[in-house]
């Protein structure tokens, strides 16, 4: 039967295969492209609550004395992270446009040096684009020796363009253990015999 298919049919098949494979490769690439696309989309719109990197202040912003916004602070520990971690101030009332400094307290109660990384998340997500951090302990990893504690600063400005209906912002940090051994224990976990929660 194959021999009855005209030469032209064979060429057509090759074209279909070529186009389909191009589609397959393209969609696979698209799947991976979704990762940076997602990040860019979120950065532009701020919709996943991830506040951006360091904010470069331009000319001094106008401070809107007539408006007050409450900024609340939350601290959580990642799984297995044994540090004490809490905001020094639970919340502050700020005027949009003014630079405000608050602190977070962290302490390492263990008997060995550790490294922590704080990851921020802001709610409501429409506020993310209007929350600017000029200085944040989340920009860097935080090493602490055994028993050491520290007060870490956060300096931020709420943009005066913040939509009117938003009167409260909640900034939450989750502190993760950046111990390289613990992180790549994904592979250790695969090999270990006494690990996961679901065994």
């Amino acid at each position: 039967m194959a021999e009855q298919q005209p030469q032209q049919g064979k060429r057509s098949n090759s074209r279909v295969i070529a186009w389909c494979m191009a589609g397959v490769v393209g969609m696979f690439a698209f799947g991976f492209a979704l990762v940076p696309l997602y990040d860019v989309f979120c950065e532009i719109t701020g919709i996943n609550g991830k506040t951006g990197g360091r904010y470069e202040t331009g000319v001094s912003n106008q401070v809107d004395e007539n408006r007050t916004v409450t900024v609340q602070f939350l601290a959580s520990n990642g799984p297995g992270m044994s540090w004490e971690f809490r905001p020094v101030q639970r919340s502050v009332k700020v005027h949009p446009g003014e630079a405000v400094t608050v602190n977070f307290y962290a302490a390492n109660p263990t008997d060995h040096a550790m490294v922590g990384q704080a990851v921020p998340s802001l709610s409501p997500s429409e506020g993310t684009l209007y929350f600017h951090k000029t200085e944040c302990f989340c920009f860097n990893q935080q090493p602490l020796d055994a028993g050491e504690s520290v007060e870490m600063p956060l300096v931020f400005i709420v943009d005066p363009e913040l939509p009117e209906h938003i009167t409260k912002l909640t900034l939450s940090y989750t502190l993760y253990d950046q111990d390289p051994e613990a992180r790549v224990s994904g592979s250790a976990r695969a090999g270990a015999t006494t690990t996961n929660n679901n065994g």
């Binding site: 194959a2 021999e3 799947g31 989750t174 592979s187």
Partner: protein, 527 residues
């Protein structure tokens, strides 16, 4: 199935080879179609047994039979096996058997790749099922395998699960390429696109969906693999990643996937209803456009699976509107089937019984889908048994009954014998009753507040759970009757004519029953 050589052939065809090498090496679309169908039925029984374990545990409150860890493995594997091992391969089997016959082609465009596409499946499922016996057990994170439950907290077998998905995905993609090449290049002269039978149309569109989204699934599981084994953080907040990203990528695949699982059934029903109504399909053109519209829209609705995740209001509204929109072309199809029946001359052999049940019960599944689309209401339905009811209605009386209807419709063509009509009607009624007893109460359970994926429940959910389990056992046992019917039909029965159904139309009914090993070596003329 048929060992009869094509007596019209002028070449030196020997007919099929003998023994095991026939099946290992065949490039014949009928053989491959049969293998797909047998494989899918075996997976259906395997996935079904897991459902029996689930329903046995849920028969009463309390933990009686299995521990929660194993229960989670059962729900996960039941879903994976049914979606990827039963429903999809069954439709590919039907495509293999019927597409060349319907378009007057001698075989699929790429017969050797066809053989590969099939044999990859038993390999993939051997790997997947073997995870049950690995340390830490099988995947236990739901067939939707959300991160980080599946990445950071998954069992060691997760990597094998990913491997199995990759292999199965390659099989699907190769099959889709084959279908597209066959339909575009091998139609008999005179068969223009808008003259193609509906089953051919729905498979063409399904194949495009497969090409578009199976690679995205491959991407998602590859990212999982990298997070688990290579220290990346696609879905891990501690490394700057986002678990919600997983859901976006997964459902971008997942939503078109559910249409992949139903469009071929739409096509088959569009053959069966006109045949048993002895009346042409109403609105052929709009049926084609509706399938195209459904396929296109299916790419725009994925986040309706994520209404409670915390996506912003604008996104929520967009996905709600787009999802509501899909109801329109789907409704058009239902109206067209009903209008085909209206003022027809109806008879209710087994294929038609399943087809009518499909129309009614799939539509009920569609109604619960419409309710789920109302985003604020979905906050109450999401992750409850209401969702379980919805997708079992569209998949069981939807896809599965569509497959049963097709099997009964085309068994005479495949085997040369009529199946036992009384037994088949029994299979239908027991399945119909069992299925409704099993799944209709789940609507109530969900509305009353029962979440999904739990091995034990509060006392107010007891009664409907018991009814549901009884229905499920009934439905499950009945499928053994189907096995008996098929085996009996293969082995003998009343001789079937080339066209055993007087209302049927199409090239497939012009070849003898059983269809000779080689058909349409010379393409027919289509007026």
């Amino acid at each position: 199935m048929s060992a009869v050589a094509d007596t019209h052939s002028q070449e030196h065809h020997h007919g099929p080879a003998k023994g095991i090498s026939r099946w290992l090496l065949t490039t014949n679309h009928k053989d491959i179609g049969s293998m797909y169908l047998i494989f899918s039925f075996a997976m259906f029984l395997l996935g079904g047994s897991m459902a029996m374990v689930i329903r046995a545990e849920l028969f009463q409150p309390g933990l009686q039979i299995v521990q929660p860890e194993f229960f989670n493995q059962m729900t996960t594997m039941h879903g994976l096996i049914m979606v990827f091992g039963a429903v999809m391969p069954a439709f590919v089997g039907l495509a293999n058997w019927m597409l060349p016959l319907m378009i007057g082609a001698p075989d699929m465009a790429l017969p050797r790749m066809n053989n590969w596409s099939f044999w990859l499946l038993p390999c993939a499922f051997l790997i997947l099922v073997s995870t049950l016996f690995m340390e830490g057990g099988a995947p236990n994170f739901g067939w939707t395998f959300y991160a980080p439950l599946s990445t950071t907290y998954g069992p060691p077998s997760t990597t094998f699960f990913i491997f199995a998905i990759h292999i199965m995905g390659v099989s699907s993609i190769m099959g889709a390429i084959n279908v597209i090449a066959t339909i575009l290049n091998m139609r008999a002269p005179g068969m223009k696109m808008m003259k193609m039978p509906l089953f051919v149309w729905t498979w063409l569109i399904t194949a495009f969906l497969l090409i578009a989204v199976m690679p995205v699934l491959a991407g998602a599981v590859t990212m999982m693999l990298m997070d688990i084994n290579f220290g990346t953080s696609f879905f891990d907040a501690s490394g700057g990643g986002d678990p919600v990203l997983f859901q976006h990528v997964f459902w971008f695949f997942g939503h078109p996937e559910v249409y992949i699982m139903i469009l071929p059934a739409f096509g088959a029903i569009s053959h069966i209803v006109p045949a048993f109504s002895r009346k042409p399909l109403f609105g052929y053109a709009s049926m084609v456009y509706a399938v195209g519209a459904i396929a296109l829209l299916s790419f725009l609705v994925w986040a309706h699976h994520m209404f409670t995740v915390g996506i912003p209001l604008a996104g929520q509204l967009f996905f709600m509107y787009a999802t509501l929109l899909i109801a329109v072309p789907t409704g058009v199809k239902v109206f067209n089937w009903v209008t085909t029946m209206f003022r027809g001359s109806l008879s209710f052999e087994a294929p038609m019984l399943f087809a009518v049940a499909f129309i009614i019960l799939f539509t009920i599944g569609g109604f619960s889908g419409l309710m789920l689309a109302i985003a604020p209401a979905d906050f109450q339905y999401h992750d409850t048994y209401f969702v379980v009811a919805h997708f079992h209605y569209v998949l069981v009386p939807g896809a599965i009954f569509g497959i049963f209807a097709s099997a009964y419709f085309w068994l005479p063509k495949w085997t040369g014998h009529m199946y036992d009509e009384t037994l088949a009607k029994t299979h239908f009624w027991l399945s119909f009753i069992g299925m409704n007893l099993a799944f209709f109460p789940m609507h109530f359970l969900g509305l009353a507040g029962m979440p999904r994926r739990i091995p034990d429940y509060a006392l107010q959910f007891s009664d409907f759970n018991m009814v549901s389990s009884i229905g499920a056992f009934m439905f499950g046992v009945t499928q053994l009757l189907f096995l008996f019917i098929v085996v009996k039909c293969v082995r003998g029965g009343e001789k079937a004519a080339a066209k055993p159904w007087d209302g049927a139309e199409g090239l497939e009914w012009t070849v003898p029953s059983p269809a000779p090993y080689h058909t349409f070596s010379t393409p027919p003329e289509v007026k």
